[in-house]
Amino acid sequence: MWPAPLLLLAAGLFDTDVMPIFRAKCISCHSAKTRSGGLALETAEDALRGGKSGGAIVAGKPSDSLLLSMVAAGKMPMGGARLSEPEITAIRTWIEQEDRKSPIGERDVTAILGAKCWVCHGRREKMGGLDLRTHESMVRGGKSGPAVVAGKPDESLLVKRIAAQEMPPPKLQEQYSVRGLTDDELAKVRQWIADGAKPDFEKPLEVTVASDPAIRAKDREFWAFRTPVRPDVPAGVNAVDALSGKLAPAANDLTLMRRAYFDLTGLPPKPEEVSSFERDGDPKRYEKLLDRLLASRRYGERWAQHWLDAVGYSDSEGGNSGDQNRPHAWRYRDYVIRAFHSNKPYDKFLTEQLAGDELFDYGSVKRLTPEQLEVLAATGFWRTAPDATYSTEQNFIPERMDVIAGQLEVLGSAVMGLSVGCARCHDHKYDPIPTRDYYRLVSVLTPAFDPYHWLPPVYPCGGVGAKCDEKSTRYVLPRATAEWEEATAFNTPIELRVKELQEQIEEKARPYREKKGNKDAKLADLAAEFEAFKKEKTGLDEQIQKERTKLKALPLVRALFDLGPEPPPTRILLRGDATTPGALVGPGAPSILSAPSRDYRVEPLAHSSGRRLALAKWMIHPEHPLTARVMVNRIWQHHFGTGIVSTAGNFGRMGAAPMNQKLLDWLAVEFVRSGWDVKAMHRLIMTSAVYRQQSGANGFPLRRIDAECIRDAILQIAGRLEEKPFGPADKFKAQPDGEVVTESLRRSVFVSHRRTQPLSLLETFDQPFMNPNCVRRGTSVVSSQALHLMNSDLTRENARYMAGRIVDAVGDDATAQIERAYLLAFARRPSVDETKAALGALERMNAEWEKPLEKERPAEPVRSRAKWLALSTLCHALINSAEFLYID
């Protein structure tokens, strides 16, 4: 309790002189209920505690008090008349005489206890029967009695145990990534108890879209925040053409064919496909080609890559140089490929990713079907951000909040077309996204991303990082599936054998422990001390290692799901700092993108909070101003190199204005009307005259194929591309010179994408570093690209394969070889001049290769070897050429 005289004195001045002013001028926005900016001004404590910008006043220091400077400058009351001089003087006098420190509230204490105690005394565990989450539960206490005795810190068990450094238990601190309390933190806990351990009776900020003081009416008028309206287009004309300007002449058919192949499948056409397309006399042969390509598996693989870029897919955790692998991430990758291949409607695609786990009560399903597993794997969308929390040193509240921030950045830039990250620390400077709305989004995720009960990325995790048991894993363990049963049946004998070997080590250790006189001596210490034991242990360790490599990976689904009822409260964190909690918020979506008729609204589910499902429903509402625009813009971008809005991840004020808003809006409205049909969008765009223009400064933009296309195309023209889809990512290896290569011959989307070890070829050609995601790739022109294509084994080897397959296909005739090489690399036949030049080059190369071979006298015939090598060098030049690397 406050010491009575002090309370009276200060309250007196506030009550008599200041409260009337606040009531008259401020309370309409700053009542305990309205709390604009998180600030209430009903009591002196309210002012001391402040809002989102920190304390409104600093006791005794008028010059440091934000409230005073705002009213003195006339910035407050917002939109109202400036306070009179006597009023300002009254406030200044009150602040000068006020000598209470900013009170320690329950929120300050729970910020400390949350980070340091809740992992064992919170939402999922109540060790010793103790729950330290609320005032009430602290007073109730656990088996040892109440944790808190109001007004008596020294009698409060909470203080006693912490002060004695018994809690948090030093032995567990590392494992659970908590630290002891600092002097300052302990002092705060004491102070709060001494002051009566008063609860905060705080309600989450209420946000009403219809009258949201944080957003001006003018803000809502910005084009990107208004629902798109379909512009009128004459009937019978492709709308893309109707809404576009002057065009360059149409590209020739083969150019267009190659363009369509790369755009839809990421691969060049094969010579046979070129020939049959040429032979097809149907005037609709181009449309037929599009249908074939859209139906191809290669289409799903290609367009999945674009989406995987946007969400920041990676096969490693990142955030830390350990860059732990994500061995199960591929299920999400496969989900995305299947979704594109099957043309899953985009609204359904989004819903499954945002809230697949909330679509059905997966916990009560006895035997999950493959389709149900897919829907759970879709939530891997929320598991893409760099995540260092597998390291005990980087698994504290701030790092956990970083992971959530990474996911929100992905959601913002890939799905919403807005950068929400700025609002983590301050109200967005350019877009009307208040900090409040960032934390409302955090609150949408909190039932699943609980910063106080964090699920480690690794399973099983061997005791590292947070809680580490089946109850605390971020994987869904689909026990009752054929895949699981098969894997466990296979693994059981191996695991038994491993256990046996481990027991043998213990057995061997016993005499040494006796010798040392310490029966708990660590194995590593024994090995360091006794050479003989080290030898025995190493031998057995190797056997264990060998056994373990035989283990089949369990079909774990890397997912996001609610961790049960009672999600922790979400508070605005002042300046993004978890140690300075501000106002309480509930789940919600950015007000600027909402409207009263389609506001974010949670319908609680029996098995889950429903917060993410509500987000998905809000997101896919047909009138949502951005969801459809962002996706059609992405589709456009991957057809033309640049989106209609060139800043694909930012449609806000700092983003680029749309180059053709009517076109964007027409496409967006059409997209929704078509039932969010992605393939229909491709057809619409690709059959337009705009897409069919020839390339050039005022036509179709010439552009380089991207990193994965380069590798995949090289493998295809070398006749080596393996078409096997899906499954765990193929391994890479780092060579001694630092080059990262893979033996895999599958498409690049199936090769492990490790953040810190990208394949050198892909990295050189601008494969993005996922941190957290990439909504638009850059295209650099760097000398390392020339060096790589000229000098790497990869290109040289594949050029030899290419030459070999050409000879297999057409025999020894050089002219036919050259034609085939051109068809493979450029999807066209060479001109007469080109053939002539290539023939000359081949002949001279042939002569140059014969010289060393004459000396070397290899086993195979010199002539034919020289010819093959000459053709290889020609193929190598084609792989280096601009025509191969660019889409015309």
Binding site: L181, T779, V782, S783, Y886
Partner: protein
């Protein structure tokens, strides 16, 4: 149409495209946002033209090397304060306060106090300035390295080297502007992220140069074609590419590609020469310790750094084998190894630069991402020290630094920077200042924000140690 700015933002890795960018500057007439490596005018008269950063990744123990704390002997074995205890990483292994086993003495005319573990540095004591009050804000290597390099504890930001080359360009267009010499025995934590350009154009990214084998990936083929074939295929490619370019008039990117292939050949020569330490005298090699197995590897890289700076390279970072300063246990053996490997070459570099008249224009910086705690980790004969972010030491020399000075101090036990505290942002501002740049003015516009290496953090230039 891509704008000219788009075009240059996409140019090059600091090897060749740089020369290219200047080549095209004449053809594309606009004058905004030219992202290349041509020399740029600094904000004010620079004291240093180049920087060699001897990065001591792992966190060297300040109380055993630079920061003499006799009080530790007095308090030996005592339990740490609650605040210190709350900052310990490996709680279970925590011991009491642990004095340094090494003797300290004063060296040079200036009388700088150094530990006996740095006998060679002691001989150039009058050239260096030791900052004893550095602090950082995270106790994990990753985060602390991100802060030290990019100014925030998060990845994705440009490194100091990228900022410097963005601000100043390079004096040599045929070599990378920003060179990273990592240790063949293992890269630092965060690896390539330590020298990334982040959202600065890729042209400012550090180029990793190996001190053994092919210095740059694929600089040469593993097995080169016969020379006649090399010529023939080059000219065939050139013919095809020029014909392709002619079919796409005015496309600068295609032009750049062609030039890249020509320039790649020139680079093979220049880079090979710059890194050829066999051209150095026997005396120089001896001074860097190339004759001694312990110092040979690090000495070689220090010598390469000098050769590169001599040729106009703007910033060279020399990293050290993995985590050899990360002495969680057996700190005596660990420091013996780390100092044995680096002390002599680092001191030789300072002296060599001085003798060649390069020290005045070359800033040498020695330091890691944090220091170590004054308490024992895993107490006993194998004791070490855990990460200590709250107070640590670095030294700087040349390039306008006042030699023979120390700055700042930690508390009585060497735990927390107490006097004249120096943040990582202060350090960045100081390096930029010596190079003639104001950290507030070196900005890159990104998504409507003016980004700076010091971000919105307060930062001050350490005027007290500038001559």
């Amino acid at each position: 149409m891509p704008t000219r700015r788009d075009f240059f933002s996409r140019m090059s890795d600091g090897l060749m495209g740089t020369a290219l960018a200047s080549l095209f500057a004449q053809n594309l007439h606009a004058n905004d946002g030219l992202y290349d490596l041509t020399p740029k005018k600094p904000h004010h008269a620079p004291r240093a033209k180049a920087v060699i950063q001897l990065f001591m990744n792992g966190g060297p123990s300040q109380v055993d090397l630079f920061d003499h704390k006799p009080a530790l002997t007095k308090y030996a074995g005592q339990a740490p304060s609650r605040d210190l205890a709350a900052e310990v990483r490996a709680v279970r292994e925590t011991g009491g306060l642990m004095p340094s086993p090494y003797k300290f003495a004063r060296y040079g005319q200036s009388g700088i106090e150094l530990s006996e573990m740095l006998p060679h540095l002691a001989k150039v004591a009058d050239e260096i300035s030791v900052v004893k009050s550095m602090y950082t804000t995270h106790l994990a290597h990753e985060a602390a390295l991100f802060l030290m390099h990019g100014g925030r504890i998060l990845p994705t930001r440009p490194s100091l080297g990228a900022w410097v080359t963005f601000g100043l360009g390079s004096e040599n267009q045929n070599l990378p502007a920003y060179v990273v010499l990592d240790d063949p025995k293992g890269p630092p934590i965060n690896f390539i992220q330590n020298w990334q350009a982040g959202w600065l154009p890729a042209v400012y990214q550090g180029t990793r140069v190996r001190s053994e084998g092919s210095p740059i990936l694929n600089l040469q083929a593993k097995q080169e074609y016969p020379s006649g074939i090399v010529d023939l295929s080059r000219s065939l490619l050139h013919r095809m590419d020029t014909a392709h370019r002619d079919r796409h008039p005015g496309n600068a990117e295609l032009e750049a590609r062609i030039a890249n292939y020509e320039l790649a050949a020139r680079m093979q020569m220049e880079a090979t020469d710059a890194l050829d330490i066999e051209k150095e005298s026997a005396a120089t090699k001896l001074a860097y310790g190339l004759n001694d197995e312990r110092t040979a590897s690090y000495g070689k890289r220090c010598l390469m750094a000098r050769r590169l700076v001599e040729r106009g390279v703007r910033l060279v970072q020399v990293y050290i084998e993995q985590q050899i300063w990360d002495n969680h246990n057996k700190i005596r053996a660990g420091l013996e190894y780390a100092c044995g490997k680096t002390d002599r070459p680092a001191a030789a570099l300072v002296r060599d630069l001085k003798e060649r008249g390069l020290l005045d224009s070359t800033l040498v910086v020695w330091g890691g991402e944090f220091g170590r705690l004054p308490i024992a980790q895993d107490p006993g004969p194998n004791a070490g020290r855990d990460h200590g972010p709250s107070g640590f030491s670095i030294w700087m020399a040349g390039g306008g630094i006042k030699g023979g000075t120390t700055y700042g101090a930690t508390d009585e036990i060497g735990y927390r920077a107490a006097e004249n505290r120096v943040s990582v942002h202060d350090f960045h501002a100081t390096v930029l200042h010596l190079l003639g740049m104001d950290h507030r003015k070196l900005v890159f516009e990104r998504e409507g924000r003016n980004e700076r290496i010091t971000d919105e953090f307060p930062a001050r230039v350490l005027g007290e140690i500038i001559s």
